[in-house]
């Protein structure tokens, strides 16, 4: 593992194209993409799930995306839009939207109809049912969509270094050009670490924002009420 020396060389971390700057770029692209993609996909997915209209398209889209070669998309957008951030950004958003849409749609769609009926029975109206009942119950699957979209975007942003943007992928692409395998391997370890940490952070966030009742870890289980002889209810 002589290659690891690159990672532990201080001067590779600082400077205008050092690891810290590339890491910040990578995080920036990912955050920007996710913001745009979520602004498109979350309302749309919630609406589709709430009304049930267009669900087949959402599922089909998410499946078709798996077959779409990300490198091809990046190159095509580069040739159409030209050098700069816009092309790769469009590609990243295209890649992030389907898993977000599918997660939100499936989450809202799979809320127990009895729960929705109960909410209506209590006098809630459409938007109220969506905000107070359907969305909180759908959160596990929505966050699941956010996690898989984020991983896809981190991964594809690395490949996007090929069409000229910054980020940690630069070390892999430039390292290849200069036959600097230390930089290539160091860069790829950083990307992998970023993906793993991002997924852990989002997993932690999921535990924080999803209602404990939906996480099967709602503390010690209360014993069920049991009718004892004589008709009195008491805790067993």
């Amino acid at each position: 593992m002589t290659y690891l020396g690159w990672l532990f060389t201080g001067e590779n971390w600082t400077g205008p194209d050092g690891i810290l700057v590339r890491l910040a770029e990578h995080l920036g692209y990912t955050a920007l993409t996710m913001l745009i993609a979520m602004a498109i996909a979350l309302p749309l997915g919630a609406w589709i799930g709430h009304t049930g209209r267009g669900g087949v398209i959402v599922v089909g889209l998410a499946n078709a995306l798996r077959a779409l070669p990300t490198l091809g998309l990046l190159v095509l957008l580069f040739l159409l839009v030209g050098l700069g951030l816009l092309g790769p950004l469009i590609a990243l958003v295209i890649i992030a939207v389907p898993p977000l849409l599918a997660g939100t749609y499936a989450g809202v769609r799979n809320v127990d109809p009895a729960v929705v009926d109960a909410a209506r029975g209590m006098g809630m109206r459409g938007p109220e049912v969506l905000w107070k009942v359907e969305l909180p119950n759908a959160l596990p699957l929505i966050v699941g969509g956010v996690r898989s979209a984020t991983l896809q975007v981190i991964s594809t942003a690395t490949v996007a270094a090929y069409v000229g943007i910054g980020g940690l992928g630069r070390f892999i692409i430039d390292g290849l050009g200069q036959r600097d395998f230390g930089a290539m391997i160091g860069g790829s370890i950083l990307v992998a670490a970023l993906a793993v940490v991002a997924d852990l952070v989002l997993g932690g966030l999921q535990r924080l924002i999803v209602s404990p009742g939906l996480q099967q870890r709602a503390g010690p289980k209360r014993p069920p009420l049991r009718l004892v002889r004589g008709g009195e209810a008491s805790a067993a």
Binding site: L68, P69, G72, I172, I185, V191, A195, V196, D199
Partner: protein, 221 residues
């Protein structure tokens, strides 16, 4: 599509290369996932361990995996074996969960019946439990195969073959037609392989059709 017809020899060669690079990992991954999926179902701790390891491997970005595998497995940095190993890791990570789920969904009474009929564990697994899990495994296999076909192209960034070459060449020579043709070919390849897997899954589970027909006409039971 003119571009494809003028370069059909190149396209055929790249497609052949692409199929080898993507389908060999699917096959090896499936063969490894079956014993591991079985192992995952033995004990709660083996399930937690196997599925967490699979989840971790699935998190790693593909391009990174292509690059840092060689020093780990001791190959040269641009050896095609790296792509095959990296994609095998992905397919395995995806299929272990599928196989474990598929096997655990086999009804207990069927397993018990097989035991009562004198099936020993190994034969019972191969002749009863595994075939019963085929529909679930096929569903996972389709996802794995389609993902692998698409992921191979990422390797072209660091010089590997397959249809991804049409993207890198399209980029260097600025030919949008070649890039579009590449995207269409990858999508077509994924569609064909996906269709073949559906067909294979149906051929291997003739009893599923019988059940469907019975439930539709209300006969049986």
């Amino acid at each position: 599509m003119d571009w494809v017809f003028h370069n059909s020899a190149l396209v055929l060669e790249l497609t052949r290369e692409h199929l080898v690079l993507s389908l060999v990992p699917v096959l090896i991954g499936l063969l490894l996932a079956i014993p591991l999926g079985w192992l995952a179902n033995r004990r709660p701790w083996s399930r937690t361990l196997t599925l967490n390891a699979a989840g971790f491997l699935y998190t790693l970005p593909s391009l990174a995996l292509f690059v840092f595998l060689p020093p780990i497995i001791g190959t040269r940095i641009l050896d095609p074996v790296n792509v095959i190993v990296a994609l095998t890791v992905y397919v395995l990570a995806l299929l272990v969960r599928t196989v474990a789920d598929g096997l655990s969904a086999v009804p207990h009474r069927i397993v018990d019946s097989a035991t009562a009929m004198g099936y020993r564990p190994v034969r019972r697994f191969l002749a009863v439990e595994l075939p019963m899990a085929i529909p679930v495994i096929t569903a996972g296999l389709r996802v794995a195969a389609v993902s692998a076909i698409s992921l191979v192209t990422v390797g072209s960034v660091i010089g590997f073959g397959g249809l991804g070459k049409m993207f890198t060449e399209g980029f260097q020579r600025e030919i949008p037609q070649q890039t579009i043709a590449g995207i269409v070919l990858v999508l077509l390849l994924a569609l064909v392989v996906d269709g073949l897997l559906v067909l294979l899954g149906r051929l291997l589970t003739p009893w599923e059709r019988v059940q469907h027909r019975r439930s539709r006409t209300g006969a049986g039971r």
